[in-house]
Symmetry: C2
Subunit: 347 residues, 2 copies
């Protein structure tokens, strides 16, 4: 309607119909079916025809239309991955693990970002499902009812990752955030800390972070203790936020002897701020983090934290999906990969 011919920059709205398999077939003097086969299973076509097809494909610049292929075969070779965030360093690791496996099996990964919103997650799930994916990997085990229903009735392999649930939709691989929090709590108590503060982001929902806190509280409760202070932030976790948080904690509750941060970003920011303010870590204040990101061991004092098997979670989740797609049964539908306490010098 508003093509600006003169500049040449406004391309034709109606994309010039691409080269089709039939054109290739005509040029190569074969049937379209043979072209189709040559693409998906070259061995199933005689080398003679294959050569002629290859020539035609190259000459015409043919690119198969996957929409048509998907519509006809109802297999698209795509596996959407739905995660809450990209900036959180935790997810790139997971995604890397996933993409390596998928790529090796000629599956295309589609990435969706929920920004920690269950509503956006639901919208993403619906959109992705409307693309007829072969399988789907989704972070977390907390979803809206509709999301669960859609995924459950989709008929494709669904892998929920990072957290573990009692009633997964289908496959589930991760570790218990409650147990991890408890482990850290037990460790801190074992080191003699008693007045422990908790700091976590309250992203509209980061249920997992909250579960870690719950676990820590459990550990305290087992000794008839409770957190000396709790700080929940709305903002996205960052070093700066951790720095601010530790300052607030110390100001409001000078008696606190240890702070558990729900993630390493916060914790590292706090450690740095302490060193700037001359607060001795861990003598005056112990600091613990969560995730075991690279930089946690690069600062001094090294951060005491929980290392999570992120890449492995991604790898195994993708493999489970791949196995299913291959028609093979998956031996363990629910896998708890655990975690590891990494004792640094900060707590």
């Amino acid at each position: 309607m508003s093509d600006i011919g003169t500049t040449g920059q406004s391309r034709k709205r109606r994309r010039k119909s691409r080269v089709t398999a039939r054109e290739v077939a005509l040029r190569a003097g074969v049937g379209t079916m043979t072209v189709s086969r040559a693409f998906r299973n070259p061995e199933s076509v005689s080398s003679d025809l294959r050569a002629r097809i290859d020539e035609a494909v190259a000459a015409l610049g043919y690119v198969p239309n996957r929409l048509a292929g998907g519509l006809a075969s109802s297999r698209t070779g795509t596996v959407p991955v739905i995660i809450p965030s990209l900036s959180n360093n935790v997810f790139p690791d997971i995604v890397d693990g996933i993409s390596g496996v998928l790529q090796a099996h000629n599956l295309q990964m589609l990435l969706g970002n929920t920004r920690y919103s269950l509503e956006e997650e639901e919208a993403l799930a619906a959109t992705f499902l409307s693309w007829s994916p072969d399988g789907i990997i989704i972070a977390g085990t907390d979803h809206t009812e509709r999301t669960r229903a859609m995924l459950a009735s989709s008929g494709i392999p669904v892998a929920e990752i990072i957290d573990i649930a009692d009633d997964p939709i289908d496959m589930n691989i991760g570790f218990s955030h409650v147990e991890a929090g408890k482990a850290m709590g037990t460790y801190l108590l074992g080191r003699g800390y008693r007045r422990i503060a908790l700091v976590a982001p309250l992203c509209p929902r980061d249920q997992r972070a909250l579960r870690r806190l719950a676990g820590l509280r459990e550990a305290l409760a087992a000794r008839d203790l409770e957190p000396t202070a709790e700080l929940l932030y709305e903002d996205r976790s960052s070093w700066r936020l951790g720095a601010e948080a530790v300052v607030r904690v110390v100001a409001e509750r000078p008696d606190v002897d240890a702070v558990f941060f729900a993630n390493d970003d916060l914790a590292v920011g706090a450690v740095q701020e302490c060193s700037r303010r001359g607060i001795a870590v861990p003598e005056q204040l112990a600091i613990a983090g969560f995730n075991g990101l690279e930089f946690a061991s690069e600062i001094r004092p090294r951060l005491t934290t929980i290392v999570t098997p992120r890449r492995e979670i991604g790898r195994q989740a993708a493999e489970m999906v791949v196995e299913r797609l291959a028609g093979r049964a998956v031996d363990a539908l629910r896998r708890d990969l655990g975690f590891r306490l990494l004792v640094g010098e900060s707590a």
Copy 2:
């Protein structure tokens, strides 16, 4: 073929054909066309029919098949984004900028990761194009011939981002990495440093990092100087790598008075290592980074670095694509967003 009926976990290979628009139409007592319209432009359907359709959709759990829709309309509402890495903190910022805009315009972002390989980039481009995207955003301006050809002939809006080129495929938005490197070089020279070492990752190719070095070399050359040392690493950049690099530089060339790291990760690792080894920064050794990531200003001494307009690049790139799709001409096809020297205490 190998359905394992007993466990129930091996779903039917042939997914039970989903609810179609016709079933909805039958139930609502309308034509399929009306169902289609009700979905895409509710206002164009009488409220009476719309209500009946809504009821049927809800009752049947109808989800439109986008493959069929895309095939028929040749518009899919998708915009693939091809980037070299996710773990590099630079890209999440860009992707965030992009996704915000796309989401607001009901476009779906598809993310592809090249791992800094032009071959993988080519494969990704081909795959994505085979999904009939509405537009495409791709990091960098260095591509294989075939990638360029495919993108150029695709007929859709193509935005190359982060770097700027003399002959972009279509739209181009970013900043000059050469100029940025030069700016840093000029700054370091202005501060009196003369024996400057360069450290960069030699990811099978991170042309942009190399261009930053080239720019710095230019600045030196303008004063008849050249780098005192150059260290190129194959591995992925990390704090650890930066720490190792600075140790090597100091060991091999104790006369070096400043080190330019091609990214902040390396630089921060180096600063930390120096503080551990008692090397005074910047008195004994000045350190400069590149990108302006959050943590660069959270360590002490604060890192001197170049802040790049990552989010803005993503935002504008997406907007350009959106404008094009709306049929409007884009005023500036090539945009240099510049960069900003952030002077910290490290150099």
